[in-house]
């Protein structure tokens, strides 16, 4: 084991795979000499050379289409968007080509797309978004949203191994803030399996990414009120671990779904709708959603704080549910 930040764990997972499998290569803007905007690939070009750590032109469709073509030819590309927000420029490629190629003609497209996402540092409307819900709706794509360094490494390796397009949402606000023990050796964390972040009896919180930590703080406050909160860290939202969520919902009978993306049509709606349908008879209260409001992400700190779900917001939601 070694202490690693969330960011270091991602680098470590990527480096591990690149050393193990020379089909793995990295492509993106400024990933080479510069090591990427967040320095995830710092030193990679020295180690692996310019044709395995490729500085791409400012052209997201060329990057993703290039990754797909290379993948079909047997490579294992790991593409980086400089910020998750810019994946909008490769939307067509991902939903039209990459997502549908296997179902249509049986060709696997084993690509990984690393997406530095999320807010919390005044990145403004175009450097803070959480676009996972948009992609989770597209059959053929997988979406991974790790919250811990250990999961980040293990899920990245799983994503590279996976024979499908995997969007790997890494939360920028966790990059350097979260540091824990991470196994030094290679390991995989299964895509599609949730993790019980905290066991509880009275209310379940279903969440992922940076919101796991917000939920944790809220749960601690509720503990003081004598309310025991369970936190399910989904880890991957497509496929999502319906079984684990329903199990927790049936156990506690009350559920709060929490995410940093906006409310309407966010992936929380899918989770809430599914729980409300499939655990209908087990619920002692309505499934609540705590999310960002339906606006772009604001830049100025007080606005951003009002936008991103805060511990108080979750506490409030949990108290309401507890009293229901």
């Amino acid at each position: 084991m070694a202490e690693m930040t969330y960011l270091q764990a991602i680098s470590d997972g990527l480096r591990t795979e690149m050393r193990r499998d020379d089909r793995v290569f990295v492509i993106g803007e400024d990933v080479g000499v510069y090591g990427g905007a967040f320095k995830v690939t710092l030193g990679f070009q020295e180690e692996f050379g310019p044709w395995r750590v490729i500085d791409a032109p400012l052209a997201e469709t060329a990057i993703m289409g290039g990754a797909t073509g290379a993948a079909i030819m047997g490579m294992r590309p790991v593409a980086e968007m400089q910020f998750a927000d810019f994946v909008s420029c490769a939307w067509d490629h991902l939903v039209t080509v990459a997502a549908k190629q296997h179902w249509r003609v049986g060709i696997p497209v084993p690509i990984v797309l690393r997406l530095p996402s999320g807010g919390g540092f005044s990145g403004g409307p175009f450097h803070s978004q959480n676009p996972e819900s948009s992609f989770a709706h597209i059959p053929g794509l997988k979406c991974v949203c790790p919250a811990t360094p250990e999961d980040a490494k293990g899920l990245l390796i799983s994503a590279i191994e996976d024979p499908n397009p995997v969007l790997f949402f890494e939360h920028k606000h966790l990059y350097r803030r979260i540091k824990t023990e991470v196994p030094e050796e290679r390991y995989t964390t299964p895509i599609g399996k949730a993790r019980t972040h905290r066991e509880g009896r009275d209310i379940s919180v279903i969440t992922w990414g940076a919101m796991v930590y917000t939920a944790e703080e809220a749960a601690q406050q509720l503990e003081n009120d004598g309310v025991s909160v369970e936190i399910i860290d989904l880890r991957t939202i497509m496929p999502w671990d319906k079984a684990a969520v329903l199990e927790s919902a049936r156990k506690t009978s009350k559920v709060l779904v929490l995410h940093e993306d906006t409310h309407t049509g966010g992936f929380g709606a899918e989770i809430a709708a599914t729980i409300a349908e499939e655990a209908f008879e087990d619920l002692d209260g309505p499934v609540r959603r705590v999310t960002a409001p339906d606006t772009p992400v604001p830049f100025s700190p007080p606005l951003e704080k009002a936008y991103i779900p805060q511990v108080e917001d979750v506490v409030k939601g949990l108290r309401e549910l507890a009293e229901y």
Partner: protein
């Protein structure tokens, strides 16, 4: 003002021999062009018989361009042909009965009824299936070339696009990336002068699409797309240049789309004289005449080829019609690939 090089027509047999084609090759090209047209003609009949669901698209007039380019590719090369490029599939060896099955949405088509028309391809023959969105396969072709470059393989990727689709951003990003990295890719513009009902001057403001190649740091060549041997010669040059590290080339094959955009379109917006003029340049007839005049193709040889093609297509139709409709129980399968699939020779 044209910037691209304008390719000369091919004249003599000796010239063709130099370009690497023997008499058998020349006849194969002829056969492939006949099959290509035959498949699409029979498609029209199937459509009128109500056996093809949805719409129906063909590439009449583009047989020489498609077959010419595909003939210049080696077996280890790969490509992303489009809806006018049936000749590429035929030349690479796809069996016509599977195409008919695809047209009719049957279980034995390459997509098992999941997709229609020429939205198919056999990866084992080095072809990657197109999507409707044009020209979304160009970046994929460039990605194939990227893999070859990374692995230092002597392989080439060929990406097709229409002159209409040249207006889309994907064309630009593909050529920019390929040009800056000198990737082993050849871009083929099927310029059939119409994008649905839109004429070329509303799609690009140069004389030729190939004039744009210079903007990406490589050569552009305009070719008479009804001259299969000229297409072959230029494609061969471009493919071998790419193979030997010389980077991309943009080849523009000029033809006329000899039918409507799809079967429902009577192409009223295309001036009649345009059809008449280009009908005189029918690529198959032009090549047949050339073979008679330059390669001494005899009546018997010609007859053997065309009889063979007719039989092939007849048998193909019969076989395709025997293919069942897909089972609805299969609908949900294969949205995601399984790890085992990566171990198959799909991935080359």
């Amino acid at each position: 003002m044209a910037i691209a090089r304008e390719a000369e027509p091919v004249g003599s047999l000796s010239e063709v021999r130099e370009a690497g084609l023997d008499r058998v090759d020349l006849f194969d090209i002829y056969r492939n062009m006949l099959i290509t047209r035959g498949v699409e003609e029979r498609g029209h009949i199937l459509y009128r018989q109500g056996k093809i669901p949805g719409s129906f698209y063909t590439g009449r007039g583009n047989e020489a361009a498609a077959v010419g380019v595909a003939t210049a590719m080696e077996s280890q090369d790969v490509g992303t042909p489009l809806h006018r490029d049936m000749g590429v599939h035929i030349t690479r060896g796809v069996e016509p009965w599977k195409i008919f099955a695809q047209y009719m949405g049957r279980a034995d088509g390459p997509t098992h009824g999941r997709d229609g028309n020429v939205h198919m391809a056999d990866i084992h023959l080095g072809l990657i299936a197109m999507v409707s969105h044009l020209p979304a396969m160009l970046p994929v072709a460039v990605g194939c070339a990227l893999a070859f470059r990374i692995r230092e393989e002597r392989r080439v990727a060929v990406g097709w696009f229409g002159e209409g689709a040249s207006a889309r951003g994907d064309t630009h990003e593909s050529m920019t990336f390929a040009g800056t990295r000198k990737l082993p890719v050849v871009f083929i513009c099927d310029n059939n002068q119409w994008a649905y009902s839109t004429p070329t001057h509303l799609e690009y403001a140069t004389e030729h699409v190939a004039d744009r190649a210079q903007a990406y740091g490589f050569e552009g060549v305009v070719i008479d797309g009804t001259d299969v041997l000229a297409v072959y010669r230029e494609a061969k040059r471009a493919v071998e240049k790419a193979r030997s590290g010389g980077g991309p080339t943009l080849l523009e094959c000029l033809t006329l789309r000899m039918e409507g955009h799809a079967v429902h379109d009577d192409a009223f917006y295309v001036p009649k004289v345009m059809f008449e003029r280009w009908a005189e340049n029918d690529p198959i007839e032009r090549y047949r005449t050339w073979l008679r005049e330059n390669a001494e193709m005899t009546d018997e040889e010609e007859d053997e080829i065309s009889t063979g093609v007719k039989k092939l297509l007849h048998d193909a139709l019969t076989r395709a019609e025997e293919s069942p409709m897909p089972e609805t129980s299969t609908l949900l399968e294969g949205v995601y690939a399984t790890p085992e699939e990566l171990d198959t020779p799909h991935h080359m």
